[in-house]
Amino acid sequence: MEQDESDKPRKDETPAYYYADSGIEERHGHVPLWLWGVAAALAVWGVYYLVANWSPPG
């Protein structure tokens, strides 16, 4: 029998965990590089902002 297109595993699939009673399946997955980049950029900005704005102007 021909396999349904939606049943074919994806190339980027990672191991997953199946919560049997709820029926939820959860990929282990990964955090995209761009999201790490956003987090890192914000962290750098955050430190700068704290230092630059610790005391009121004047």
């Binding site: 919560y19 009673d21 709820s22 959860e26 997955g29 990964h30 956003v38 955050g46 704005n53």
Partner: protein, 962 residues
Amino acid sequence: MVAANTAQETPDGTLVNRELVRAWLAWSLVWLTVFPLVGLVVSIKFNAPEFLGDTPWLTFGRLRPVHVNGVIFGAFSAPLLGLLYYMIPKLCGRNMVAERQGWWALHGWNLFLIAGSLSLLMGYNSGVEAAEYPWPVNLLRYGVLGLVTAQVLITLLRRRERGFYVSLWYVMAALVWTLLNLILGGVILPYVEMTGISNATLHGLYIHYVVGLWITPAGLAVVYYFMPLAAKNALYSHRISLLGFWSLALFYPFVGLHHYVFSPIPYQHQTISIMTSMMLIVPVWAVVTNIFGTAKGRWGEIVGGNTADHYSAKFLLLSALFYLLACFQGSTEALRRMQELTHFSDFVISHSHGTIFGTFVIGVMGGMYYVWPRVTGRQLWSAKLASWHLWLTIAGSTLMFLGLAAQGFIQGSMLEYGANFVDTLQEMKPWWLARTLAGATMDIGLVLMMVNFYCTARYGKPFAEPLAEVGRRLETRPAGERTDWLAQPSAVFLVAGLGFFAAAVLTQGVIPGMAMEANSNRVTDVPTGMAVRAAGYTPQEQHGREVYIREGCWYCHSQYIRPVAGETLRWGPLSQPGEYAWDQPHMLGTRRIGPDLSRVGRKYGDDWHAAHHWNPRQVVPDSVMPRFPWLFELGKDGMPQLNDDGQALVAYVQRLGVNVGDWRETFGPTSLSAGDAVQISPANRNELLKLGEQVYRRRCAGCHGDKGDGNGRAAAMLRIKPRDFTTGIFKFHSTPGTDALPTDQDLYATISHGLWGTPMPPWYDIPAEQRMAVVQFIKTFSTRWATEEVEAPVAVPTEPAVTVQSISHGHELYAANCGFCHGDNGHGDGIAAVGLQDSWGHPATPADYTLPAGAPGGVKLGHDGTHLFKTVMNGVGGTPMPSFSASMSPMDMWDTVHFIQSLRIDAHMQELQRAGLPAADEQEARRKLWQNISAAAGKGQIETSVLLRSMGRAAAAMKGAG
């Protein structure tokens, strides 16, 4: 409702008490309809302030907290709690512990919502935003939430499922955080004694914990649970879940103070809140990536599908989209420059609607679409109604979100450019209409949802829950990956639930309150720059404060002046921490539908406030303020007069902002604008008259009447009657002769400055061109302007030095010429003071020179030397105060002026001494007070001995000795 459908039992069907979940969700439909509808009623009041306005419990200030708390704890929390009774057993692989207690929880929660809403309508309001319910209602809420928390945590600890799914992290943390936060809002804020700034600091945390540590994590638990099921796809990434949850748990507890940026809360703690607000971009983008990733490859089916599961997925994706937009808005909104522009405006309301409704109410509705067929055993009755619900929600929420944000930018820009505050409200009115339409659109969608769910339960086709919820099974493996400590209950409970929360409360709540300025009633007296102590409220003022809270005045009027957006020129000196020493609960506020009231004390006369509260539009035609007729009783003359509550409220309002001294005497905008007028060329006069008439109709006619005869609609309530312009007689003029016509500059000065202690307010905050124009229009009411020449202003000789001799001589002149009416000590209580009348037969009271700016009975245009000189020289038009130009030489007049000024300075020094001015500072304080009102003293021409003691007493002694 259908009974539990055992025919559709699935192998795990016994885990969930379907009847219980169904009952929770059925009640949720009621709250989802009722509380947003209250919001619709509230929004109509922006367009029609009189709408349902004569009944106390239907006024804006009572309905607004019913709407806000109702949406948070009814429209969102009721379905959320109901969904927990579905999610928790399924995620834990066992029934909810003490499952039947869920019925008590449901009845208790409904009782809490009903009792809480009725309490607020009746005026029982704690004054703590988002924690307004009275304590018995809070106790009930706490009991129910505690019960649910116990059920959830014990079920979780006894779970059979080894995996600890991300929804459980959020649920666990949300419940722990909220039980702690409700203690903060319900016990600590109202009952633990603290200063207003400490109160505001902790309240900033509390109010955002309601949003960030209850609604957000609980809502995300729902989205995370139902998205994979509704999309029939695996959750995109466990690792992103970790990043999203832990970054939220780390940053969110610190952000609350961004509600009070530019307030007297210590600056560095505001900075921490702004930085952490921006860092929230990380968890938001993480969650959105995860949710959209979960829909990857299924978009076509979701968008094209017509089952309840498809609509569940559509609402969940819409929720995620609003989460992305509204939370990015929220993060950037915390930045100081954005706060300058948008804070207190509808931009904030855009954010709250975008997050609470747009994100999380829509999210729980997505969960309800998934669960309802499963607990009723019926297929969704109408896909068409669900589609209408979806599209009405999209249309209404988007219009609400974008429209309110645009309003914020528009109003903020207008205010930054110096527009009159009420003029900015006028600009908001078309947008407010759009807001009402947006709200109605959303509410119609909610009603359709309720109808659809009712019909589903009643008429829907039988529904068989699929054995496998996920259509496409991936390779699975044991829970080895779940052994990460960060994904364990102990980490969530100890680190996120307790650790980060405690660290944030300590850093952002307790430490700022320990700063000396926040913890003291010490303030800087504005006229002298000296340290004094802010006084507490009198019993009447305290009662007025309670009325202020009860009537919800604080929902529309803030009480802190920021150092940005021209607020110190608009309303008065910058707010200081010590001013709030006696303010518990604090009234800093988060919204300005009306102007800030920090400095409103003595700006308007008591009569003006009475007329304004009786019918705001009689005095300010563009006002959207509600009427408060229940603050009045019928007087003996048949006119409404303030009852005890009303008098107390006015006493409280008149007290606001005066703890930093008599700053109004030298307030720049009223003084500087006085010389701003120009002579008008005939060519421009007609243009100006058109504008002047518009200004007059909008701002003056309510008191002075359409015909300028002083018989406006509000005039009957004013004891000091508005000027009758038809006579062409004005109190203050620089031209010679008691009833001489004033110059344009004189009228301009009076309009800009207002007349203290009378219903005539200052109008410095309208554009100069409007003031110039209305001067021209006022002159059209009397024929005197057409038949008489306006004489040249009198020359004011240079003021001589302020000396003991000058003051003493002035005292002699005063006793001979003025004391008969103004009294020996300048209190306006001379033997001839009783029975004086003005030219219209109204009572006329001689001025009490000792009173501070704006006090009833005091001087009306200030103690400035030049002004007093002109007044003595030219008299006061239409009153018994004559011109003394014939009986006094210019130098005699200056001496008299110096004595009059010394009366005020002596009284002012006594006020400062009562406020705790150190004796060592008295001489310097006296010097500064003189410099504020005397040009000669300002140039250093003041004798040192004048600064050493009370000059009034010294002069009296000298006179006695002589």
